[in-house]
Symmetry: C2
DNA sequence: CTGAAAGCGCTTACAG
DNA sequence: CTGAAAGCGCTTACAG
């Protein structure tokens, strides 16, 4: 257990027999350093394995190579995949991520503005922020910010100039609805997310717009207050409140995790109806493929990559005083139609033997 | 788009008509501030929504409320769950996580030592570090470090005094092996992880120790160089190299993701044998439950919680100069025996109708 | 209890 | 091309 202090720039300068300024210049690749001195200093740095303190560097406003990634919570693999995408791009730019998780809407806002106003990171990517933060006045400094899976239109609270990367939720949900319409579904349930984020808002709105466009259709949103496995609880509550009434034809769910909960509840409450009820998700998690869930393929990693690309484009934009280049990038989601029963049967080596019946075929 | 600078402590002092020192003292809850001045300063802080710059604070060596979490990569939900566990505990202590992903073994080592030596975080949790870092000399300052899913014994390179939280890999793998032994498996394959981490090392060692303890058993490790879906490729390569030979009775896999790849390959190469070949995983991911994979339940969130608890215990330990309290906490993993065919059948509403045959029953 | 001063480890004008 | 100095925003002995 040593007590030696880690090397500082001052020490390196002393060892190299030069000034702090010069060492700093070789560190930051400043052109005005004579080649031989540079080589010498670099040798000392390498020999002593000196690594600059990023935070001291950040305090002065210099580039730190750090990107802040702010995310509301970790669940359902979504955040992990997005962050992975961001990280892949950051690696290309020799950058590192500083990922932080917000514990509440307020917390999200505070951390975000801390990063934006502080000097410690080169830019920040805000993943799926709670919509409420857009209601709050914000002081956006020149630090690049990119919203990922969220978007804000011009408003009078300082939010105008933020780039974003989102998926086309509206087009995707319309595709789901058309698919279900063609399958003769008319009595629809939308199983909502339990937090207010951009994707959730657009998906729910689009669901109801579609229903409103078809006189012969009816649709209703259900949601549960329970945080965990809310698809399951929302469905149970629905059947409790609507005992004896017509069973819906389809459950359109905010995401796959919600859909699994719905399927679980249907199994429990109406196993006989299960075969004819359509359930759709969104994300296309690994389990969706195994269970055979019809779902929208969320390009999570690409979402992260695009957000990071967009951010680095801004970070590396040297043109001082250039008009802030705001970009709203929108990615497509594909509908993946699967048959729950057919897909599952595939996992049974005995399927030919038993020739499993496929209800929706 | 405002250009106003965010408030600094100096500004707050000016507005409150007091000195920076005093403002700093109320910020850090220092006792020697008169109640009325404290109240006044607090009012100013609240009114102007002042938030101290964590990095400036960190530079001085004061507590920042930040915990560094270092992780090799994001995959398989494992890291996300562990981080979630850490975050839950950090929240209780009003702390926040700074999660960083290392891009290589060297990178892991460098970032870790940066955090340990720097002043910017109160402590660091290192998740599943590459074993190679333990070969490198390290200067451990007094900053608390906890290894999560890894452990290092006393060595002469400065690593002695690091607390750890791990699972009991050896006991768990022995349980798997005993289960398979009772099922009459004698010809075993271990499908190894493709990176060198503590868990992987112990699991593989235990597999071979068990095999060596039974004269009538034989076992062999296979691994693939391919990073993604390595279970699949390792299995394909195995069958290529061993065409015509006896098909193994069981594949013991490093984790569930590996096991899914193995099942996929078995489906492809020997669908007829699939029903009699045992495949086991580790982690107990959601998909394991759906597919009916026999596996070990990895208490990921608890692993994170315990690591965080252990870290905060050290952080909050005021006893100056106390002997470093090193703790190795070991959690149990339960074997979850599932039947692939039975479990899948549960997802088919038609199962009674077709009375699906269960091979292993 | 309060304030002026030094310092944390860097960078960046400013002179030479 | 190089170095001495000021400063980033905080904290913490040190005097009072």
């Amino acid at each position: 257990m040593r007590k030696e202090k880690p090397l500082t720039l001052r020490e390196v300068a002393r060892i190299a027999g030069t000034s702090k300024s010069t060492v700093s210049r070789v560190l930051t690749n400043h052109p005005s350093v004579s080649p031989d001195i540079r080589a010498h200093v670099e040798a000392v740095i390498r020999k002593h394995q000196y690594r600059p303190n990023m935070f001291a560097r950040g305090l002065t406003g210099a580039r730190t190579g750090l990107i802040a990634v702010l995310s509301p919570w970790i669940e359902s693999g979504f955040y992990a995949s997005v962050i992975r995408g961001i990280d892949l791009v950051a690696t290309r730019f020799d950058g590192h991520l500083m990922t932080t998780f917000a514990h509440s809407d307020d917390d999200y806002f505070n951390i975000l503005t801390d990063y934006v106003n502080g000097h410690q990171v080169d830019g920040v990517i805000a993943i799926a922020p709670p919509m409420s933060i857009f209601e709050r006045k914000v002081l956006l400094e020149e630090k690049p910010v990119v919203l990922c899976s969220s978007r804000v239109e011009d408003n009078d609270r300082g939010w105008a100039a933020v780039s974003s990367v989102t998926v086309d939720n509206a087009a995707a949900i319309r595709e789901v609805m058309e698919y279900l319409y063609r399958k003769n579904c008319r009595n629809m349930i939308y199983v909502a997310a339990n937090n207010d984020v951009y994707d959730a808002r657009v998906r729910e709105e689009t669901f109801h717009e579609y229903v409103a466009s078809k006189p012969e259709m009816k649709g209703k949103t259900i949601r549960s207050k329970i945080y965990d496995n809310w698809g399951y609880y929302a469905t149970l509550e629905y059947f409790e409140d609507n005992a004896g009434k017509n069973v819906p034809d389809a459950f359109v769910c905010f995401n796959d995790a919600t859909a699994f909960g719905v399927i679980e509840a249907l199994h429990e409450k109406m196993p006989d109806e299960l075969a004819r009820i359509y359930v759709t998700g969104c994300d296309d998690e690994a389990a969706a493929n195994i269970v055979g869930l019809t779902t929208l393929c969320m390009p999570m990693e690409r979402l992260g990559k695009e957000a990071a690309n967009c951010l680095y484009e801004r970070i590396n934009d040297k043109t001082e005083g250039a008009v802030m280049h705001v970009r709203h990038r929108v990615l497509n989601m594909d509908l993946i139609v699967r048959d729950r029963y057919k897909t599952l049967a595939k996992y049974l080596p005995l399927n030919e033997l038993y020739n499993i019946h496929v209800p929706h075929a």
